[in-house]
Amino acid sequence: MVETAIELRSISKAFGPVQANRNVSLTVTKGSIHGIVGENGAGKSTLMSILYGFYEADSGDILVRGAPVSIRNSNDAIAAGIGMVHQHFMLVDPFTVLENVMLGAESGPLLSESLRAARSELERLEREYGLHVPLDEVVGDLPVGQQQRVEILKALYRGAEILILDEPTGVLTPQETDQLFEILKALKGQGVTIILITHKLREIMAITDQVSIMRGGEMVAHRPTAETNREELAELMVGRKVRLDLDKAPAAPREAVLAVDHLTYTDAKGVPRLKDINFAVHAGEIVGIAGVSGNGQSELLEVLAGILPPGEGTVRLGPVTATADDPGDPEQRRANGIAHVPEDRQRLGLIGKFSAEESAILGYHNDNAYLSGPLIDRAAVRADCEKMMRDFDVRPPDPTLQSSKFSGGNQQKLILAREMEKNPDILLVGQPTRGVDIGAIEFIHRQIVAMRDAGSAVLLVSVELDEVMSLSDRIIVMCGGRIIGEVPAAEADARMLGLMMTGIPREEAKKSAGNAQVPA
């Protein structure tokens, strides 16, 4: 008889008229790694929040190790042995690892005693699980992968036997992901139960024992991982057949329309973000920039888009030449056929409080087509927004709906529609599918390829390596503000790119990636 760690019975939760969870049941075996997949809004996060005590379920029962428990807040969850590692770390940056782990679990009024006790306990945990983190380092100085380990240690320190990880690999390099998976396997070996929430089907297949699929607030299927595959999971998540592989004709690059020459950029704090960047993008090709988040890709995109001024060097985009003395601005870029789909959709790409039609003219609000005299021509704006919604299948197709009320995928489709509708010569795209549902990803990718085929030069920045690899014709890898190397898409593999993303030059990366015996 297998022991169950957690059993959820008919959990329901509604937020006003929205039924976030409907009769959800889930059984997680002790000492297993259990994956939960589903699109955004499928109810995964709500379910886990109920389990961790952020929300209370409207109805249904939670059983931990066979006994019913009532979890009203995170203290109850911790008492029941449940720990959570959030997607966005809950760490105090200027504190040391030790202080962070101890935070909220201090005993007695004097810190020194708690610190001593915590140190010996943590050393034991580190030995037992192979979770090595320098205890006296300041958390803010650690790489993300190590910060995540601190989160895991925090949970274990509080006696967690059941660990919930919410999208843990979103910020990690492929190598860090491998290391995380090693840790998870070690934890599993020690009898810890792990619930893994992710949208990356590859990871589900790589590490879980069981997988549960949610859709529209309901649990639609449970599968032993060994008996399923990515295609089936995707179909269960979306509710229809999905093509995971992008089919695209080889590129037919023409003249270079975007050329970056010895570009540097130093931010307001004096930190150099871009160092001697040189590359070109030709009309009719997609160039992807791969890199771990925070290695200069965002700054590069913003310099190209005219949001940030170049430090040194020049940037030539079609008819525009930007230098430190003459940086231009986003309006000038738009006027010259350069469109920009920003990385931060919520904060840059649209205005949450504006209606969809108002967001649909953001950046183009001075176009004569949208104006009549001093006033904005509402009818023209609405008609254009309706057209965008039709062409890009934005749902619901309601131009008056507040922008923030659309799902991430539909917001992104609206932004893409706005930027692509102008038939730009150069399209700058940042994180086109971050937080976007699988169904919409497929659509967005096809639109980007169509843009290329129509003769545009596309520069793609994405932290999703899969995305860069499937969309790009050439891949440029960045690390620490430099270009590490360039790889034609046909020769790229995830391991090699992953190594390059940590700063290892191409030839070396290729060699060591070839030696390693881990599937991409």
């Binding site: 601005d329 840059l348 205005i351 003219i361 953001l362």
Partner: protein
């Protein structure tokens, strides 16, 4: 998801029921205070309402106060839509008055009224905008916080006006710190005069044509903020500066524009007070209208229609309060200020306090009716 999505309530609850509930709570709290000092709260309310809207003269005064609140409320909301908290309405109104005074004093010896009045209004706008421009510039290009600088500028304006009115601008031989009276040509007609042109007789009150100008400003502000591309840019900056930069909008320029318009609107208080009523430039004519404008804008949800309604309420409180202090001697002027403060507290600062309860009742009522229907 870090927090539960808020429930969207129907508009009539959001802009109707909740504000009324807030005012009711304020009245209950005020009633308790009146009870404590040994007066009858019901009688006090009756006196206030009677005093504010019970008779011609009361209505006239109420609307006269309302006019000032519309100007300052619009001023605060204009800045607010750009994400700026303009606490300097008071100083901008005061300084705007200086502009009006200078124009009139310079022209009223020879120019006709139809020329002086529009120029004076423009002068008020220009000086109000000018007084807002300096803090706006400091915010936009030097990063000095607008809340701090606009507060400071209220004091500077007050000191400057004392200097001017007690010194260089004072009428020779006059003991009070004020200028000479404007010539008749520069007077805005009183409403009782306007009505008299049409043969209707109404009581003499300070209410004058400025009310019409205030309502015109409401329409213009609405059109500007929601229908023009400048208003679009202004709202974009107010929502997200980074998105504005992405869209090719220059936030510093918008900060300057929004604050100048805000200051100009505040400057119109002088139109009502100086051209309409006092007919001279005098000390402290702005007497707190600029500050109350913040509460008016908050309560009116920064929308012109809401601002008109909130201004009416505050006009009513001012006039009714004055009447109350007169009729019930135990209720002093300070007491009336405290009562107005309670209304500001409940409908401004605590505006959302009652929302969770209303939400619950609404859901309960709706859930109940759904069950009945099924």
């Amino acid at each position: 998801m870090s927090n539960a999505p808020r429930i969207t309530l129907p508009a009539w609850i959001d802009v109707g029921v909740i504000p009324l509930l807030n005012i009711l709570m304020a009245l209950v709290a005020a009633g308790l205070v009146i009870l404590v000092i040994g007066e009858d709260p019901l009688q006090a309310v009756q006196v206030m309402i009677q005093g504010a809207v019970g008779y011609d003269e009361g209505i006239g005064y109420t609307l006269y106060y309302t006019t000032n609140f519309i100007f300052t409320g619009l001023a605060v909301s204009m800045a607010f839509h750009a994400g700026l908290f303009n606490i300097g309405g008071e100083g901008q109104a005061y300084f705007g008055g200086l502009g009006i005074g200078l124009v009139v004093l310079a022209l009223d010896g020879f120019a006709p009224g139809f020329l002086i009045v529009p120029l004076a209004i423009a002068g008020g706008a220009l000086f109000g905008a000018g007084w807002a421009f300096i803090p706006a510039y400091l915010q936009a290009y030097r990063g000095s916080h607008i809340v701090i600088t606009t507060i400071m500028f209220n004091f500077i304006a007050a000191a400057l006006m004392v200097y001017l009115l007690a010194g260089v601008m004072r009428e020779g031989g006059n003991m009070s710190p004020e200028t000479r009276e404007f010539a008749d040509a520069a007077f805005l007609p009183f409403m009782h005069e306007v009505f008299a042109w049409f043969g209707v007789t109404i009581t003499r009150t300070p209410l004058n044509l400025s009310l019409a100008w205030a309502l015109v400003c409401c329409v213009l502000v609405y059109l500007f903020i929601w229908r023009t591309r400048w208003g679009y840019e202004l709202r974009t900056v107010g929502q997200s500066e980074r998105a504005a930069v992405y869209a090719g909008i220059s936030p510093p320029r918008i900060v300057l524009m929004a604050m100048c318009l805000s200051g100009a609107l505040a400057g119109f208080v002088g139109v009502n007070e100086l051209l309409g009523v006092q007919h001279r430039l005098l000390l402290n004519f702005s007497s707190g209208y600029g500050f109350t404008g913040i509460a008016v804008a908050l309560m009116g949800r920064n929308h012109p229609i809401g601002i008109v309604l909130a201004s009416l309420l505050f006009g009513l409180l001012y006039q009714g309060g004055a009447e109350l202090a007169f009729e019930m001697p135990t209720i002093t002027k300070e007491m009336v200020v405290a009562l107005q403060g309670l209304v500001i507290l409940f409908s401004g600062a605590l505006a959302y306090m009652s929302r969770p309860w209303v939400e619950r009742i609404y859901l309960l009522a709706r859930g109940g009716s759904v069950r009945k229907g099924a």
